[in-house]
Each structure stands twice: as structure tokens, then as C-alpha cells.
Amino acid sequence: MKVLVSVKRVVDYNVRIQVKSDGSGVVTDGVKFSMNPFDEIAMEEAVRLREKGKVTEIVAVTIGGAKNEETLRSALAFGADRAIHIKEEGEVQPLTAAKAFAAVLKKEGAQLFLCGKQAIDDDANQTGQMVASLLDIAQATFASKVEVDGAKAQITREIDAGLETLEVDLPAVVSVDLRLNEPRYLKLPDIMKAKKKPIETIGLGDVGVTAEAGTKTVKVSPPPARAKGVMVKTVDELVAALKSKGLV
């Protein structure tokens, strides 16, 4: 069975995000980028499924500018067999990505599409769902456990009241949540080997998709700064302060 994993290049989770002074977005110059952590979990799951003998080939796919190749190299170091880079230098909105991924999924004949539940940059949480919808196939989101058995997969999801287990027919889209697994360290020998694995570069036109701009970013603003704390000397003062703010 073949699995397609989508990976996204995002500002690294360690980086303190700064909003541009004109409110047009966040600062990305000179900032470290890395693979979306949820996509790392999806990659790790694909590799584990292969280690269990459930998956025979792992293909990583991304959409974006030239620098996204680094992210695909990371996916190859994780263990993807090959990678597809849909090169698009302009802005990529979730619907465009979903259409492109759906086309690749169809062309590759992959039985499973694994993706992070959302990317930590825009938190859109849309691409996986739209891929399923575009192809009219089953979807299971926020997976915390994935078991593949023949033409079906059992997915456990964390819901408010506990756990929910779904069974889906393959092909299906599965978006993964934080507690599914802990991604392994990329080992230096694997990173070395990844440099030699193939990356196929195609354009949006090659998959018959045109970039959509359904939404427009109007303004990005930083969260309000935390108000200064007040030092109180006695418990009575504290109680009085809390009361005056209507907190007790």
C-alpha cells in the first residue's frame, strides 16, 4: 500500500513570532523554518506503518517556493521513499493546496493520505478535510491512533468525552493529532542518504490547478501586552484588590 504524506514549511516552533509593524503579516526574514510539527507526526506514523509491514511506499508532497525543498529533504530523512514538490512561489491558500494534493493523490493511487491536523503558522485546519471532500473519500481527523487492516483503517480520535473509534474504507484522509506518536530524531546517516533520494518538481499547472485567493489577510496584530502586576503586602490587601476587580 502506498501512503501520501503532506508536509509544510513553517516558522520553527521555537521562534518568537514578531508581527510586522505595518500589520501585513509576521516577520519571516532571517527566521528559522522547519517542518510543521504535526506533519512530522504524520511522517513518523507513515514510517511506523511501513515498519509494521502495512505500507510499502511513502511519498512526501509539499506545495510552495524553492525553499520548501529543505522540508522535503527532512521528510526523506524521516524515511519517505521519494518526494514531490509542487512549486508555487506565490501565496498558497488551503483550497489550492487541497486541490493540488487531491490531484497528486489520485495520480499516485495512494490508499492513505496522512497530514498534520493543522499547520502551526495559520492554524487553518482545512487542507485534509478539503482533500477528502474533493475526492469524495472518507476522512478521519485528529487521529491519536491509526490501525490499517487490508482495505479498512481504524482511527481513534480524542473527543471531549473520551475516545472515539472510527472505521473508514480506504482510500481515506487521516489528519493526525499531537498524541499519536513522538517523532524520532533524524539521524545523520539518514539525512546524508536523503540528499541522494529523488525529488520530483512539478508546477500547479501540471496537476491542473490554478491558485485560488478566496480569503485575504486584512490585518495581523500581536496579542495585547500583559498589564503590569501589582505587589500586595498582606492577604487583606490581596482580597480587597480581588474584590475591587470583582474576581471574588
Partner: protein, 553 residues
């Protein structure tokens, strides 16, 4: 416990992705291409990416870059802000300052033709160029120990990943690889932890003056447009440090880059004598000086970092070669302190070593010998001439203070062309310079106002430093008892103050006092390794990828 390690072999291995290491890697590939041959070059970098651990002022002299890439402009090197003005102040007090007339500025402090840059971004660019030439760059992997066999350096072992606090293997344990090469170029920067071992093991510092260091603390600010003067360079000496004395020396800088960005920093010589001195707090109060505050007020601080720098110059430069390897850049100590610039000199030293290594390997050498041609090339280069001219500067300041020492330096540089017939020596070790706490005056630093000055923890937050939590502490005490039994009574444990990242704390009361190491805060500046009066702190590399994530530093 023996571990099976993967091994990769290269012609040349470079340890460290700063200006020296990257220039060396690039030069190696250029030399191979000129000869129509192949050279396998690998570069490892402990930061999570190239540039993540790079911190510099920086006013950049493009001399070495011109030699490495004559077409750097077309290639898009990030040198965007030419220096258009150069102010030097003697700060006499927290409000008073005297501007030095241009006529009296020593020649090495002239900056025409130089650029204000982010060295981290220049390194990112150099990294891209190196990869395009076929250099294999592996960021996120820290060289932990040299491989030495029969007295010959054969490469390095990369640190293991997935080891817990107690030193046991976690489920995701991955043993570090052995990277072997005919020649290994060490480019770890100031006080490299392997460089330090090699200098000791091969006695490379024999016959030289002791090395001297300083700590540089830097912040990046976004300032209101009307306070921004792109291309303006402001240097200062004196307050809050000494102008006439020699107990706390150093200097300050404030540079205006593009996009309303101003960088500001304070460099404090680690030869300071008062154990109560806190370089971090000196810097915080320094920003309140009206000459500095005029540019920063109303702005936002967006970046913070610190790094030790090496300033002994030619007098303290160790022997550069040993069997199988060499030291380049500030791992050796090529910074020109009179110019307060080390990037162009580091690059040049890397290029010279690369030329020597390329000639040897392309000539059929199997390596393992001493690359003495590197030393010959160094001695015949402008780098050596430049460092020779500046050899007295640091010593003069240490002996006579910023004002008088600076004046003598002015006479040497501008009247004697840097060629005084005599050389001064400074033989006192930085870690031995502290006076006892009992003989020293406590320093009461003003509380940070949250506008111009800040506390340590909110500052460290801006370095985006991060370390995997469950790993062995990478700041290794040779003797665990010394901080509380000796350093505390003698010097009030100065680590609490010289560390710019709040790594070291003395917690508890009375007999329950203990020394706490918050290793996760570490910004890899190496100051503790240098300044600890007992020389009891050994900085070793944490798990690869750990440490600061500097942007635009």
C-alpha cells in the same frame, strides 16, 4: 560502554558554520573546481541551522568577502547598509559624553567602505553558497569530541542524541556518527570546546601570551522612523565601565541598519576585577545614557543575545596546526580588537587554511600531517600584517585604561602606521583577575524600567534559546562542591552575575545553599568556561540543535 557508530569519510571536515568555517568550505570547493577535481567537504554546525548561533555587532569589512566572491553583490550577499557616519563618544558619566573629533580617531576605527550587517544572515547566505558548490552542511549536529589516533586528529565524533539526565539511553537514542577526514578544520568560534582541548593536548599556546576575552551582549531594536539614521555607527568607551581606570574595561556600540532596525550592545572585558560586576546589568543601564536613549526610546526590543569574544590578537595566537587538523577563525583567535572586527579576519584565516588543505589533498596527500603551509600562508598574508599592527591595542587598554591607552594607540596607529618598535604584553589571566568579594564594593544596579532596560529572564526569552529538557547538563562542574564551598565565600559566586542568561543561581538559605544550573537557558556564550575563577566549569556541547535561535543577529 562501547557503541556501534556509523562512519563517514571526507577529504576535509569543517567543524562550525560561522564565517571562518563557511569561507573555508567554499574555498575548498573553489580550489577543487579550479583544478578540475573533486573534494568531499563536510561541515557540521551545532546550531539548529546555519546562523542560529551567530552573534556579532556587526560592522563588516568586505576585504575577505571580495576575495572569496568578487561578485558578491550580484549574488545577493546581505550587505545592505554602507556605513555613512562614524561617531565615537567618551562617556564620562550616566549623562555626560564627549564626542571624539574625527582627527583623533585611530585609523583602525575608520569605517569608510564598510557595511553594517547581520553576521547571522551573512552566514546563512554563505551557507547557501557553500551548498550550491556541493559542500555537505549538517546543522543540528554538534561535534562532541575529537577522534585522535596515534597523536593524529582523524575527525570528530558527533554527540549522541536521546540520552537522559542520568546519562541513560532513552527509547529514541541515536549514537553520534564518526566523521573522519584527511584534514579537520576547527572553526567553533571563541573558546571552542574542542579547540580548547586541542590547544591543551598539543600545547599550542606554548610561548604565547595568555588569551584574553570579553563578553558582548547585544540587542536588536525596531525604532520609530524619525530616530533612525541608516548607516550611522556609534561607538563608545567609558561609562558605565572605566574610562581612566583599568578595573572594568570595554566599549559600546550602536548601529543603524535598514528597516528601522537599530542594534546596540556592550562589550565587557573579562579581565574585570569586581566580582559584583554584572555585564548584563551594566548594559541595561547603559541604554539609559541620553546619547543612546535618543535612538532607542519609543522603540521595541526584538532580539537579545550574548557571546564571548577573543581579543588577545597576535600576541596570544596559538600555533595554528597539529597533525591532521588546524584551528581557524576565533577558535584560534584571529579577531582584530583594534578594529573590533573579527569576521573578515576569520574568513581570511579559513580561506588560507582551505587553500593549504586543498593543495595538499589535490596533490595526493592522505592527510594526517601538519598543514604547515597554512602557517606560511598566514604569515605572508594581509591578515598577519593587520594583526601585527594591532597587537598592542588590547594590552595598552588593559595597562593604561581606555583614555590613555587609547591615546597611545592613536599615536601608534596614526603616526607609526601600527608599527611601534616595541610590543607590549599582558600576562594576567582573565579568570584570575577577580578581587575578593570582601575587598570589593557591591554594585546596586537600577531596576529595569521595562522600556529601555529589562530583566534577565525576559531577555533570554528573546534569544529563542531551547534545549531538550531531559539530557545531561552540558555545563559540567569538575568539582561540584566548589561553587558553594569556595566561589561563594570568596567571590559571592560571580557566575550568578557574569552569565548573561541566568543559567547559574545560588538558591536556598544558610547550610541548605546550593548551586543551581539552569542549563536550558544557556545561550552558548562560553563566558562561564572563561571567567570562573576556579576554572571549574567545562562547557560541552549539548544535544545538537540546542541553544539560541538567533534571527538577524
Amino acid at each position: 560502554m562501547s557503541v556501534e557508530r556509523d562512519v563517514m569519510e571526507y577529504d576535509v571536515l569543517v567543524v562550525g558554520g560561522g564565517p571562518a568555517g563557511l569561507s573555508a568550505a567554499i574555498r575548498l570547493k573553489q580550489k577543487a573546481a579550479e583544478a578540475g577535481k573533486e573534494l568531499n567537504v563536510c561541515l557540521v554546525e551545532k546550531g539548529s541551522e546555519v546562523g542560529a548561533h551567530i552573534l556579532s555587532g556587526a560592522v563588516f569589512e568586505p576585504r575577505a568577502l571580495n576575495e572569496l566572491f568578487p561578485d558578491w553583490k550580484e549574488k545577493g550577499a546581505p550587505l545592505n547598509t554602507p556605513v555613512i557616519g562614524d561617531d565615537i563618544y567618551f562617556f564620562r558619566s550616566q549623562t555626560a559624553a564627549v564626542k571624539m573629533p574625527n582627527l583623533f580617531v585611530p585609523k583602525p576605527m575608520h569605517n569608510e567602505g564598510n557595511y553594517i550587517i547581520s553576521l547571522a544572515n551573512l552566514c546563512r547566505w554563505l551557507g547557501t553558497q557553500a551548498e550550491a558548490l556541493g559542500v555537505e552542511i549538517y546543522p543540528g549536529f554538534a561535534a562532541q569530541t575529537p577522534i585522535i589516533e596515534d597523536g593524529v586528529v582523524k575527525g570528530v565524533t558527533i554527540g549522541d542524541m536521546g540520552v537522559n539526565h542520568q546519562g541513560e539511553h532513552k527509547p529514541d537514542y541515536a549514537p553520534g556518527m564518526e566523521l573522519r577526514a584527511k584534514y579537520t578544520l576547527f572553526a567553533e568560534g571563541c573558546r571552542g570546546h574542542i579547540g580548547k582541548q586541542l590547544i591543551a593536548q598539543y600545547d599550542l599556546a606554548k610561548g604565547t601570551d595568555p588569551q584574553h576575552y570579553a563578553i558582548g551582549i547585544k540587542e536588536i531594536w525596531t525604532v520609530p522612523a524619525e530616530q533612525h539614521k541608516p548607516g550611522l555607527v556609534v561607538h563608545g568607551a567609558g561609562w558605565p565601565l572605566d574610562l581612566l581606570g583599568t578595573e572594568a574595561l570595554g566599549g559600546s556600540f550602536l548601529y543603524h541598519l535598514e528597516n528601522n532596525t537599530v542594534v546596540c550592545g556592550l562589550i565587557v572585558d573579562l579581565s574585570y576585577t569586581n566580582p559584583y560586576l554584572s555585564p548584563f546589568d551594566e548594559f541595561q543601564r547603559f541604554k539609559h545614557h541620553p546619547k543612546i536613549a535618543q535612538y532607542l526610546k519609543g522603540g521595541t526590543r526584538v532580539g537579545y543575545g550574548a557571546r564571548a569574544l577573543v581579543k588577545g590578537g597576535l600576541n596570544s595566537l596559538p600555533k595554528l596546526t597539529f597533525p591532521g587538523g588546524v584551528l581557524i577563525g576565533d577558535d584560534a583567535g584571529t579577531l582584530n580588537f583594534a578594529k573590533i572586527k573579527g569576521s573578515h579576519t576569520a574568513m581570511k584565516s579559513g580561506m588560507l587554511a582551505a587553500e593549504a588543505a586543498a593543495e595538499a589533498v589535490l596533490g595526493g596527500s592522505e592527510g594526517g600531517d601538519e598543514l604547515t603551509t597554512y602557517t606560511e600562508k598566514f604569515k605572508a598574508s594581509w591578515l598577519h600584517e593587520e594583526l601585527y599592527k594591532s597587537r598592542n591595542f588590547g594590552v595598552l587598554l588593559h595597562k593604561f585604561g581606555a583614555l590613555i591607552g587609547g591615546a597611545i594607540n592613536y599615536i601608534e596607529q596614526n603616526w607609526f602606521g601600527g608599527k611601534f618598535p616595541w610590543t607590549f604584553h599582558d600576562l594576567k589571566l582573565d579568570h584570575a583577575s577577580l578581587k575578593l568579594a570582601a575587598d570589593s564594593q557591591k554594585i546596586e544596579y537600577p531596576r529595569p524600567d521595562g522600556k529601555l532596560s529589562f530583566d534577565k529572564l525576559s531577555s533570554v526569552f528573546l534569544s529563542s534559546t531551547n534545549h531538550e529538557e531531559d539530557q545531561p547538563v552540558h555545563l559540567v562542574l569538575k568539582d561540584k562542591s566548589i561553587p558553594i564551598s569556595k566561589n561563594l565565600p570568596l567571590y559571592d559566586e560571580p557566575a550568578q552575575r557574569y552569565c548573561p542568561a541566568g543559567v547559574y543561581e545560588v538558591v536556598g538559605e544558610g547550610d541548605a545553599k546550593r548551586f543551581q544550573i539552569n542549563a536550558q537557558n544557556c545561550v552558548h556564550c562560553k563566558t562561564c568556561d572563561i571567567k570562573d575563577p576556579a576554572q571549574n566549569i567545562n562547557w560541552v556541547a549539548p544535544e545538537g540543535g540546542g541553544g539560541p535561535n538567533y534571527a538577524n543577529m
